[in-house]
């Protein structure tokens, strides 16, 4: 009996952590994952719609970068990147700010209110300045409230920031009621005026330039400034932060002011620099997509440029597919979903290694007589050692 128990059997699949994967190897893993994702998309397309998958991929590409599309895609990416940059300092601090949607919306609301009140009473430059200040301050307030509660009373920042989103939405709806008596659910251009003028006569150029500058500045801030270093230390271990005398509360609050302020700036760009109108869905979920951008980009502003483009490219391409190929828009969502699933899944294979134990099945047959052999006594021990 005891002898049998000692023959503990390794499970069929064993997963071990691998450490120190080279950059090149990680890229290969990612490329393989994307290739598999595209292959799966192609198979699914043929099976479900009977369309040529190559035509479909070409359409995706055209949708994003086709004639007259490139610049719009670039602008779209800039806006998403702006919100993503905003959440990144908080994420580096392991402060899960999922309220970027609300922080950007409240920034947009502040912009809209200023435009509504002053667009025909002030000249452009002071108006834009006032819009900017109020948007940034509004976003910062929305960001700092959960931070204060977290820092002083240990509340859960995820719930807090999430709930702040709904407050922002209701505030916008309230503003709609006051500003537009017609009962429309959009406060339109005619009531708000022109907002931020075009830079060199090019539409959206202002937004793109601002976000490009912001990316560089934030990269330097996070990587080379003392503040950025403190954020990283607090994120890695609050104990270490305390040990070296970092004021953890101060860092949490300061960083969330920054995060909220950049969100507010995004709201300014969206309302004042692009739509010139406001409704409660003006941010269009960018606050949540930003989480994915930041995470996939490993909280590094430069990598995030790539992940932003990937996501915007997929979204715009998918839209095009559904219109051109006459497919339900849900189908393009499925394809986007598959690709994202594989991209996120690739991280698993970069960090973990799978060991297959083929002799597992062979022994099973031999063991049938001694059916009482141990099933998994060794497992708890392994965890303990790890």
């Amino acid at each position: 009996m005891n002898e049998q128990v000692k023959k503990t059997r390794d499970p069929f699949v064993r997963i071990t952590k691998r450490d120190g994967v080279t950059f090149g190897k990680a890229c290969i893993v990612r490329a393989v994952c994307i290739a598999v994702a595209l292959l799966l998309c192609a198979i699914l397309t043929v099976l479900v719609t009977g369309q040529n998958p190559l035509v479909m991929f070409a359409t995706v590409f055209k949708g994003a970068f086709g004639k007259g599309r490139g610049f719009v895609t670039l602008h779209e990416a800039a806006l998403l990147l702006c919100v993503s940059l905003a959440v990144t300092p908080a994420f580096r601090m392991r402060f899960w700010n999922i309220g970027a949607e609300g922080q950007a919306l409240i920034g947009g609301l502040a912009t809209a209110v200023i435009m509504f009140l002053f667009h025909d009473r002030m000249s452009t430059f002071p108006l834009v300045l006032l819009m900017t200040v109020s948007a940034v301050v509004a976003g910062a307030i929305w960001g700092v409230l959960p931070a204060i509660f977290k820092a002083h009373w240990g509340t859960n920042e995820t719930l807090f920031t999430l709930m702040m989103n709904y407050i922002a939405i209701r505030l916008v709806e309230w503003f709609l009621k006051i500003a537009d008596k017609s009962g429309s659910n959009v406060v339109s251009h005619s009531l708000l005026g022109d907002g931020i003028p075009n830079l060199f006569g090019v539409q959206y150029l202002f937004n793109i330039v601002v976000v490009a500058l912001l990316t560089v500045v934030l990269y330097i801030y996070l990587q080379y400034s003392k503040h950025g270093y403190e954020i990283a230390v607090v994120g890695e271990s609050e104990n270490t932060a305390r040990y070296v005398g970092i004021n953890v509360r101060k860092v949490i609050i300061r960083t969330m002011i920054l995060s909220g302020a950049i969100c507010g700036l995004a709201g300014l760009l969206i309302v004042g620099g692009a739509s010139h109108s406001i409704d409660s869905n003006i941010i269009k979920g960018r606050g949540f997509t930003a989480i994915m951008v930041s995470w996939l980009g490993k909280f590094n502003p430069l990598y995030m440029i790539l992940t932003t483009f990937l996501l915007v490219f997929l979204a715009r391409g998918a839209d095009e597919v559904s219109t051109i190929c006459g497919l339900n828009s849900s189908f393009s969502d499925i394809l986007t979903g598959i690709i994202l699933f594989f991209i996120i899944g690739s991280e698993f294979f970069i960090h973990y290694q799978m060991h297959f134990n083929w002799s597992f099945f062979e022994r099973e047959k031999n063991d049938e007589a001694g059916a009482f052999s141990a099933e998994k006594p060794a497992q708890t021990d392994e965890k303990e050692e790890a």
Partner: protein, 509 residues
């Protein structure tokens, strides 16, 4: 006799990686007795008990319950053999009541009837003399009440063999008395009890027999009535081993740090330090000995400005000016601003002393990154320091840009100690600096500490190996349960004497 044995272990071994936690241990538990298992930290007590309770599975050896060989693969198996263990860290659901926690995971026949469960819990409390309201929620309970719930949980499952892992560590003396009364009542009703402890007076007070473990091996099992505390201590700590660590005479020691009457409580309200007083002198290594969790961590953290104190004073005397500074209730940052060069090598290297995901360079500047007015970091000096430490302490690393969590334990420690010493401290505190290190790395650390001492630094060394403490330190402060049980001369003290002081507090129950 043979049929009276409830539980028998034969030849049990268990290793984790290269570390032997238990080596060929034999142990037996007589029905209706209280057996104390005694041993220092890391002597394998908990591992051995975990194998009986189904948490671990032995690599070798056999377990017999009631004379029949048993295979215990999980806590569930253990319950089938009527074995239950009360762990050091309670496993209770905070928002449930006592009765709900006790019933959790049971699959009784028929309808789930809370009233019935509460009634049978009340019956058990009555029988063994606990004080417990089955409807009280866990989060409203004191530590001792939570422990009672854990014991009831096991009795409710019908256990005849109870294992308690350091049950007294978290209790006040009055609560300990109550617990012992309950244990005696359980013994009278025929239960067999194993109690892990390293407090000798408790062993003497409660147990019928004592099993002593040392470095994973079973030394002896003796009748408590036939043995003295001194004999037990010797069995526990073993004979003195010579290590040949150089120890120079302190050069004109002067008082550097005066600690008076420190009191400190944990978040749970347990007193971690009570009236701790001592003086650390320049040019001297002050050792701190004690069983793990006797207040060493709290003491060092209090000096470093990381613990909230409920009473006491910490005074630092500047070696140049002789000015006295009060360090109590100052943050680490404020302490530094006072010009006090206090270095601290904490016990938790990667969780407190270093940032695992950062490279060696970034870890070098953890303490010094604020220097200068610039908003930006200066990585040049830290980078030079990193290269220096890698070269002088022979840190094995691919480069100074390797995240420190990739380094081996010894190299991590060299990086940490190197950084703390590079700050040219006047007081250096090191908690378990050689834990998990191989012989060579350990000696390198001893030499570094000695070099600091010779430079006139006041060194405070918290250690667990008595042989090392006795050969390295000039004086040794012994802590027991948050109190100072004495300060002895490192050159004259006997190992047994220190061992006895580690396990003995006043107010024996």
């Amino acid at each position: 006799m043979a049929e009276n044995i409830a539980l028998q272990l034969k030849n049990i071994s268990k290793h984790f990686g290269t570390i032997m936690a238990n080596r060929k241990v034999d142990l037996d538990l007589v029905r209706g007795e209280i057996l104390a298992v005694l041993g220092e930290n890391g002597s394998g007590k908990t591992t051995l008990m975990n194998m009986i309770a189904g948490i671990y599975y032995p690599d070798e050896g056999q377990i017999f319950v009631d004379g029949k060989e048993a295979t215990i693969r999980s806590p569930k198996d253990a319950f089938e053999y009527k074995i239950g263990m009360i762990h050091q860290h309670f496993k209770l659901v905070d928002i449930f009541t006592a009765a709900e926690n006790i019933a959790l995971g049971m699959h009784d026949e028929g309808k789930f009837d809370m009233a019935k469960i509460e009634a049978s819990v009340a019956e058990l409390t009555e029988k063994f003399g606990f004080e417990m309201d089955p409807r009280k929620k866990i989060y409203q309970m004191s530590v001792s009440e939570k422990q009672t719930v854990e014991i009831l949980k096991i009795l409710y499952r019908g256990a005849d063999i109870l294992i308690l892992d350091e049950p007294t560590a978290v209790l006040t003396p009055q609560e300990i008395d109550k617990l012992f009364a309950v244990l005696r009542r359980m013994r009278e009703s025929g239960k067999s009890i194993i109690i892990i402890t390293h407090k000798l007076h408790e062993v003497m007070a409660i147990s019928d027999r004592v099993a002593v473990l040392r470095r994973g091996e079973h030394i002896a099992t003796v009748k408590t009535a036939e043995v003295s505390e001194a004999e037990l201590t010797e069995m526990m700590v073993g004979k003195k081993i010579s290590l040949n660590i150089d120890r120079t005479e302190p050069k004109n020691p002067t008082d550097r740090l005066i600690v008076k009457n420190l009191n400190c409580f944990s978040i749970d309200g347990i007193q971690k330090l009570s009236s701790v007083s001592f003086t650390a002198r320049s040019g001297e290594i002050l050792g701190i000995a004690g069983i793990a969790g006797s207040g060493q961590r709290e003491l060092l953290e209090a000096i470093a400005g990381l613990q909230h104190l409920s009473g006491g004073e910490i005074t630092y005397i500047d070696p140049q000016t002789g000015v006295e500074e009060n360090l109590r209730d100052k943050t680490p940052q404020q302490i530094r601003e006072l010009g006090v060069r206090l270095s601290f090598v904490p016990e938790d290297r990667l969780g407190m002393g270093l940032v695992g995901n950062m490279d060696i360079v970034d870890n070098m500047m953890l303490r010094s990154y604020r220097r200068g007015r610039s908003l930006f970091l200066d990585r040049k000096q830290p980078s030079n320091l990193a290269d220096e430490i890698i070269a002088s302490l022979e840190v094995v690393t691919p480069s100074s840009h390797t995240p420190v969590r990739r380094l081996s334990g010894g190299n991590v420690q060299k990086v940490l100690v190197g950084r703390e010493i590079a700050a040219a401290p006047t007081v250096l505190m090191a908690a378990y600096p050689v834990r998990g290190l191989d012989i060579n790395s350990s000696y390198m650390i001893y030499n570094l500490l000695n070099a600091q001492k010779e430079n006139g630094v006041a060194v405070i060394f918290v250690g667990e190996d008595l042989d090392v403490l006795l050969e390295l330190c000039d004086r040794i402060l012994v802590l027991c349960g948050g109190k100072v049980s004495g300060i002895v001369e490192g050159r004259k003290a006997k190992k047994e004497q220190v061992g006895l002081m580690m396990t003995k507090t006043e107010g024996v129950s």
